[in-house]
Symmetry: C2
Amino acid sequence: MTEYRVSFDQVDPVMVPGGALLSEAAVRAGVQIAQPCGGQGRCGRCAVQVEKGEVRRRSTLRLSAEDVANGFALACQTVVVGNVVVTIPEQETIERHLTTERIAAEVKPPPGYDPQRDQSLQRIHLTLPPPTMDDQRDDWSRLQTAVRQQTGITNLTISLPLLQKIGTVLRAENWHVTALIAETSQSSIFNLIHLLPGHLPADKPLLGLAIDIGTTTVTVWLVDLLSGQVIAQAAEYNRQIQLGEDVISRIIYAGKNNGHAELRKLVLQSINTLIERVAQKSSLKNPQSSIVKAVIAGNSIMMHLLLGIPAESIRLAPFVTAVNHLPAFTAQEIGLNMHPEAPVTCLPGVASYVGADITAGVLSSGLDDAIDTTLFLDIGTNGEIVLGSRDWLVTCACSAGPAFEGAGVRDGMRATSGAIEEVWIDSHTYEPTLRIIGETQPRGLCGSGLISVLAEMFLTGVIDKGGNFNTHLPNKRIRQGENGLEYVLAWADESWHGKAIAITRVDIDNLLRAKAAIYAGITVLAESVGIPLESVSQVLIGGAFGKYINVEKAVQIGLLPDKPWEQFNFLGNTAVLGAYYALLSQTARQRIEDIAGRMTYIELSADNSFYEAFTSALFLPHTDAHQFPTVSQVVMESGSHVVE
Amino acid sequence: MTEYRVSFDQVDPVMVPGGALLSEAAVRAGVQIAQPCGGQGRCGRCAVQVEKGEVRRRSTLRLSAEDVANGFALACQTVVVGNVVVTIPEQETIERHLTTERIAAEVKPPPGYDPQRDQSLQRIHLTLPPPTMDDQRDDWSRLQTAVRQQTGITNLTISLPLLQKIGTVLRAENWHVTALIAETSQSSIFNLIHLLPGHLPADKPLLGLAIDIGTTTVTVWLVDLLSGQVIAQAAEYNRQIQLGEDVISRIIYAGKNNGHAELRKLVLQSINTLIERVAQKSSLKNPQSSIVKAVIAGNSIMMHLLLGIPAESIRLAPFVTAVNHLPAFTAQEIGLNMHPEAPVTCLPGVASYVGADITAGVLSSGLDDAIDTTLFLDIGTNGEIVLGSRDWLVTCACSAGPAFEGAGVRDGMRATSGAIEEVWIDSHTYEPTLRIIGETQPRGLCGSGLISVLAEMFLTGVIDKGGNFNTHLPNKRIRQGENGLEYVLAWADESWHGKAIAITRVDIDNLLRAKAAIYAGITVLAESVGIPLESVSQVLIGGAFGKYINVEKAVQIGLLPDKPWEQFNFLGNTAVLGAYYALLSQTARQRIEDIAGRMTYIELSADNSFYEAFTSALFLPHTDAHQFPTVSQVVMESGSHVVE
């Protein structure tokens, strides 16, 4: 097959066979091109400029004729048919880190935490009788006997790599060692995972990791398993983002050529970088020997991609995972940069779209122990919803799409520097006031800003309950833009990039669909168990997203049910918190297993009532005004909605 | 550090730092030089010729002044101090394969073998209900349920690599698969090791390996686990031989630089080559998927070296192993070229010098089930001895040295083409008659030839009971040679290599020490339990060595106790046979565990009575003639021993 040379800026050219995609050539060259849609040619974000040479464009979706004339091409849809020179536009490089670790949480160990009782890891001091001509027992028997005498453990296992070391360690330390022993998931079987030199001081920390792999953000907490204290926290964007912003795009990307391996490598890079970072923060020199346990939460797709398990069946009806309850693995098997023999628990999920992030969240939110009926929401790309109490649990997932994460909205962005996070619109002048993250010029709108602007536009009558603009208002911010009608939040000369920031009619529709999906999920779930929403006594909101939204405005757009604000409780990252509890306590870990077993999963795509509920919720706040009495009140008071 | 160029014949020169050994340069160049003593400078077999350039000889042991003048140097004792050109003498290249697989055994499955009842592997047909919107269980739960319904197994585990595959296999096969399930060493825990496409015909063989790793020879049997039939056998010299002929030399070599890894690689090469060979013999295309279980026997040192476990403590007082009872491993962990998830059992040993070859041998010889007192011997470099019955078992090991394997004897060699395997000496003319392996000219003496010539010389009065030559006999074969007195078996013009083949006084002393060690071991063991040797009702002899010796002659030199020949039973390779039984039957495997637990080990080096017994046994046949009544009778009748 003929090979062609592809040259990217600043890196060595690569040779690829004719017919290869530009995106494949980029991978080979080690160049990163964003493919938020997973290489489906839908998002247009992988556009590059072909400076020289011949290519064939399979699709030019989202490129204008002028773009194409200027050599622009979608990397994921353009085939190499000759030697080419390619430039990657600067705006396409990906922001790699959360600008601030705003999400660092204040965490306290569960009250009464007792490592002796709760922890599956034991660190015990051993002094073995050295072998003599009268006592020629082998090293491993000698060690097993010493452990049995001290702990009563009769069934101790060991891996080959450690077996290769014990003789050397025992002799070098003159038969005084500290053994690290882990309870396994099989009852009464324990595993020797490390043999440390000498007798370690009792106050020397014993380190573990609580990990949450979010579709967008990966979070790692370094924990002292003896005191239960969180020693360091770190988070960064999941590096898989460059190959797909949402889970569906990633599953699609995983199905291509080497896609699965690429995605696995990227998320491991994220986790291992964060391990390095928490180690640095706590002046830990050698995480490979001192971090000896981990618990991982994450949605089912993240879990499959982490473990290299095909996720294709999750995307296609009837939407099943390869595995919900994962066996125990070692850090080495998974590829984590910590003690290779460290036991790693991947928490159990319930279904394709209700994963271990939710079971962990239900535990850490206390929902599974609540006396009164409680609603738990985790809003991200997907909205996962759990309703229940200590007696029963039902759950569903609704594909809200990434609108609230800033994707699918023209001027949407993540909650980083320059994001408009809150908007107030004057009900007389229709002029906006903006709050921007980082005291800089605005660059776009993040999720809370989008909810805020939608609520304000509705309450002030800039849009009606169907999301239609009132073009009769005396303010030129409501104008005909490139993409149809829009409301301008910042003029070109006010913005960071010199382009106007506006919210368009298309954006509004995407936001309406997102909020309708979530609200419809809530109502269907409540109906499925015959519980009216009024009798829900509290609403718990997990996920980083939930932490920054304004409840009042979320209720005003009909995203959250209309309840008194004191019934809402924002919990932050409930998934990593659940992983943290499971890391500390076997009881907590077992409780998560029980939660996964107890939850009744309702598949919305098989549920006709969901579509009805969804359609009813596509309005502001809802077709049924009775479901939002306080919002109706505000709307009446503000006197807006002259246009109907 | 200065680097120098070392050039060997026919390979590319290599660069090594000044001070490197020639043997290290050879490893780097990929050139094999025999180091039977493990690189201690004792055997002189690694002599090479330095044609050009400068070296420093640390030792010239076994080299004459003339050799040194001609550039000869010991590769393991010679340091590079300049660029050198080295030639490797042809006679030092190692014979790589047993010239004939004389040891192919006729084996029958144990009577009444029933794979359903005895075998730890099950192959079961599964038909799973495909997932639907009403049944969204994950693939792994679905599989577990199907297995439970068919077999009652409730605790099924799976590895990550297989978990990565199940979804694809299940869908490709439309939910009809054949599962391969192995009982683990933990009660009631089973492991899914393979998922085969479709429903395999019940008569398709299910393949496993019985492996014996001898210090000298590695043996592999390919077995159909359903019928119990041995399908193919293969054996070759253990490739570790080039780095040490006996276990002590190998332990020493393992302690050097990368020695452990080199030895591990070599024995794996031996095993994997043999796996390939048995696969070829049985027209098996893909051993990596179709061989799914293995059981390994071997002495403790071989087991440690195979698994990369340091063996140094075995060599040094108080002589302990790192591990006798090994946990279960997968083929991948060990490095065997078969199904990576195949469970591999390394059989248990008892002590440093009584390994799994002996526990397996005790099982396959039936000693542990014998009603009457039985003696079991495995004679090789070490002699392992077991005495006992179904009620009790004692064991010891005596370091006989490799004399009977042809090492430590000037014209000694292995039992390959050209080896003198039997000798008759005319009691009047003192002329010998030889039987040679392979109808060729003689090249040396193998173990059975050595026993034979020693017995004949003794009975005809060529030597006296102390091993001294009778120089008064009228035959010029008894002569003063380069190494002192000797008896010539073949003149220079009769031999293959044009050099005379003789047995020297030094050789005789080595052989006396070897046979005395074994006989002393037998007597000490019998004394330890207060049982006279006369009441031993049968003598079972394992090991390839035992298969070719002449009992009468072995009794005449005092190697074996003086008992009627019908009480001796030569069993061949009892170790591989024991591995084979354990491969087929869980009961047999458990019996080997029980044997290892039941055996009382007697450490001879800590036993003064052993030294007395050894000294008494250094004569032909023994200082105490009463122990060898039939030999005394023959000696009297032959009228020899005029010289005393």
